[in-house]
């Protein structure tokens, strides 16, 4: 009996590589489609999409003050994404950015609270190093188990997020609680434990994290393109068997890459507590570890792309908080818009990789 699916109708075939320009055009169309969908949703709620989107743009880029806030959101997002993207390049699903940020924040806060007598430059350096180490070690745990026993890293890194998050709750409610405050909160950081601010051209003073961010983007670009380690992790990501066959120490590469990936996230934790937060709170990571997964995917793991996409997402986030004050639309709209954009771009990849052809009637 002939299979009737073989006759006529539409049929999907893989296509060769599309030119770069065309693929980005498809993605741009997808984003436009998403914004239209979001706009329809706003329309349904009784708002004019144009004025809401306009407010979002104004609220995130309209003045130097707004731009400053947007960049302050972008710094941790961009750095976290650089971190997790490195692991993704190796096909290691690090969705533990959240926990690695928190681990770094705890380590940095320890020095801020108990060694505030040190000179500022020394204190900040030690805080940064401690944060990188803590984040990195927190990321090494799943990496070790993955290489040793093949433990599922997606869920493992996820569980580690919650564990370290509750560790912060414990510290905040217990040993590190501010004895003078009525609420269970940690004390504010002393002056020496706060990141210095540096002039961002055209915008104003922003904590030094923005310089770290640009340096990290450049470093990541070089690391992936022009170093042996970067090459090794790419090979492991593309085909682990090839890597083994070529004699690469796959286990060591996975552990090393995860340490760098998680260490970067740890550094973000330090910069958050000693930059904008000035104390250790439960919200130090605030969902950035998850958001970074989307940003990493959207930017195809390219460092420059990560900078661009994390900037756009920060505009969206800052814009949504403005939208909340002006239209009283809940700020969770930002999650909705981000996920709609992701859905659309995820879907658009299909049209980049495949094409639909009309199959001719099968002839006998």
């Amino acid at each position: 009996m002939p299979d009737k699916r073989m006759h006529g109708g539409f049929h999907v075939v893989q296509r060769g590589e599309l030119p770069q320009l065309k693929t980005w055009l498809y993605r741009l169309l997808a984003v436009l489609g998403a914004l239209t969908t979001g706009g329809l949703f706003l329309l349904m709620l009784g708002f004019s999409p144009f004025s809401v989107y306009g407010t979002m743009l104004r609220g995130s880029l309209g003045s130097a003050g707004m731009q400053k806030e947007t960049i302050k959101l972008m710094i941790p997002l961009c750095l976290t994404t650089l971190g997790v993207a490195l692991a993704f390049k190796m096909r290691f699903w690090n969705i533990g950015g959240e926990g690695q940020i928190s681990a770094g924040a705890i380590a940095a806060s320890y020095f801020a609270y108990f060694h505030s007598d040190w000179p500022s430059w020394l204190l900040l350096t030690v805080m940064a190093l401690a944060a990188i180490l803590a984040g990195g070690l927190w990321g090494l745990i799943p990496a070790w188990f993955k290489t040793r026993f093949g433990t599922n890293e997606t869920l493992f890194t996820l569980m580690l997020n919650y564990i370290v998050l509750y560790l912060i709750t414990y510290l905040r409610e217990g040993p590190w609680r501010n004895p003078e405050g009525g609420f269970a909160m940690t004390p504010r950081f002393p002056k020496q434990a706060r990141l210095p601010e540096v002039m961002f051209p055209g915008v104003g003073n922003i904590h030094i994290g923005w310089i770290v961010m640009f340096v990290a983007v450049a470093a990541m670009f070089v690391y992936l393109r022009h170093t042996k380690q970067g090459y090794e992790l790419t090979v492991v990501g593309e085909n682990e068997r090839t890597a083994r066959y070529a004699g690469m120490p796959v286990g060591r590469i996975v552990m090393r890459t995860m340490f760098i990936s998680a260490g970067l996230c740890g550094l973000v934790g330090m910069m958050q507590v000693s930059g904008p937060d000035r104390q250790l709170t439960d919200a130090v990571a605030n969902g950035r570890g998850f958001e970074a997964v989307s940003v990493a995917w959207l930017s195809r793991l390219s460092p420059i792309g990560i900078m661009v996409v994390s900037f756009l997402f920060s505009v969206l986030e800052k814009g949504c908080s403005m939208m909340q004050t002006e239209f009283r639309i809940p700020a969770s709209m930002s999650d909705i818009l981000q996920s709609i954009i992701l859905f659309f771009v995820l879907g658009s990849e299909f049209f980049i990789q495949y094409r639909i052809v009309r199959r001719k009637e099968a002839r006998l």
Partner: protein, 321 residues
């Protein structure tokens, strides 16, 4: 209260806490059996939670509320299925995005509802509340100890157990279930056998999403008694994801797993301070620590029949012929 009373109360609370976990686990088992890993359980539970809540508020009918929850979970799963099965996009990213979407939508609608409702309060319809309250089965409920523990639960609790047994029978003792497992393990072989891979994937991803949605309804309507709070699901979907591994893809073992984790969830309320005095944060941490340990141990003692379906995470594309 005597010690025995307290023990019963503790076990009873553990059962209450285990139900949403069981729904999430069962839904995801069904989805993974079709060879798709859906990290969106948390999101589908959120969709079910807010929709069930909204429907019970608007229509005042428990059945409509549950139907809407089921449909909402299905709708979330349908987005996922379309993007991963038809458009063949990355399953991990799509699932995570679904979680972000569900969380965002639920928190959004919840906040709008709270801010527009009179006096800022949205209460659940009394009829719905009464219908979902623990059943009173007369003489059975009156039985000492077992009466309270076995015959005094919400109808959703019994439905969860029925779902688990049904899934077990379906997966292991029906030809459709056999086909489904073939799709999950080796879609190319199933395709060659004449099984419509996409159709099987769609149906089971959608059904699984619906089951997750019921778990959400339980959280908003039974656990929270219709008192909506932001972030109401709070990571239970993720624990359910881990429970799938804990129960090694068996719906019956999922019942046991959910009970264990339900116990961990309520432990802090029942362990007397003078016996064990550890800070509350560590109790909250406990389910996640145990889950991590479970992940480690299940990966160390690997058994072939207790593994994730081999097709999970890889999209099936029928090559040109």
């Amino acid at each position: 209260m005597t010690f025995a009373d307290q023990l019963i109360a503790f076990l009873y609370a553990a059962v209450l806490a285990s139900v949403p976990l069981l729904y999430g686990t069962l839904g995801e088992i069904l989805i993974e059996k079709s060879g798709n890993l859906n990290l969106g359980v948390e999101g589908m539970m959120y969709l079910g939670a807010i929709t069930g809540f909204l429907a019970s508020y608007l229509f005042g009918s428990p059945l409509i509320a549950l139907a809407f929850s089921f449909l909402a979970g299905m709708a979330g799963a349908a987005i996922y299925a379309f993007i991963t099965v038809t458009l063949k996009a990355n399953q991990n990213v799509t699932g995570l995005t679904l979680t972000m979407f569900g969380t965002g939508v639920a928190n959004f609608v919840g906040e709008v509802l709270k801010s527009t409702a009179p006096a800022g309060a949205v209460f659940m319809n009394e009829a719905v509340k009464a219908w979902l309250l623990p059943l009173n089965l007369g003489p059975l409920t009156q039985l000492p100890v077992v009466g309270k523990l076995l015959f005094n639960h919400s109808i959703l609790t019994y439905l969860a157990i029925v779902t688990a047994v049904t899934l077990h029978l379906y997966l292991n003792h029906s030809s459709l279930g056999l086909n489904l497992r073939a799709v999950g393990e080796n879609p190319a072989a199933a395709d060659a056998m004449g099984v419509n891979v996409s159709r099987y994937k769609y149906i089971h991803i959608l059904l699984g999403g619906g089951i997750c949605g019921l778990g959400g309804a339980y959280i908003s309507l039974v656990t929270a008694l219709g008192n909506w709070q932001p972030d109401i699901v709070g990571g239970q979907g993720w624990i359910a994801m881990a429970l799938v591994i804990f129960s090694s893809w068996s719906p019956l073992r999922a019942i046991l797993g959910a009970l264990v984790f339900g116990t961990l969830n309520v432990l802090h309320l029942y362990v007397p301070r003078d016996v064990v005095n550890i800070p509350g944060a560590f109790y909250s941490m406990l389910p996640f620590v145990v889950t991590a340990l479970v992940l480690i141990f299940s990966s160390i003692r690997m058994k072939r029949e207790h593994q994730q379906p081999a097709g999970c995470g890889v999209n099936y594309f029928r090559e040109e012929r």
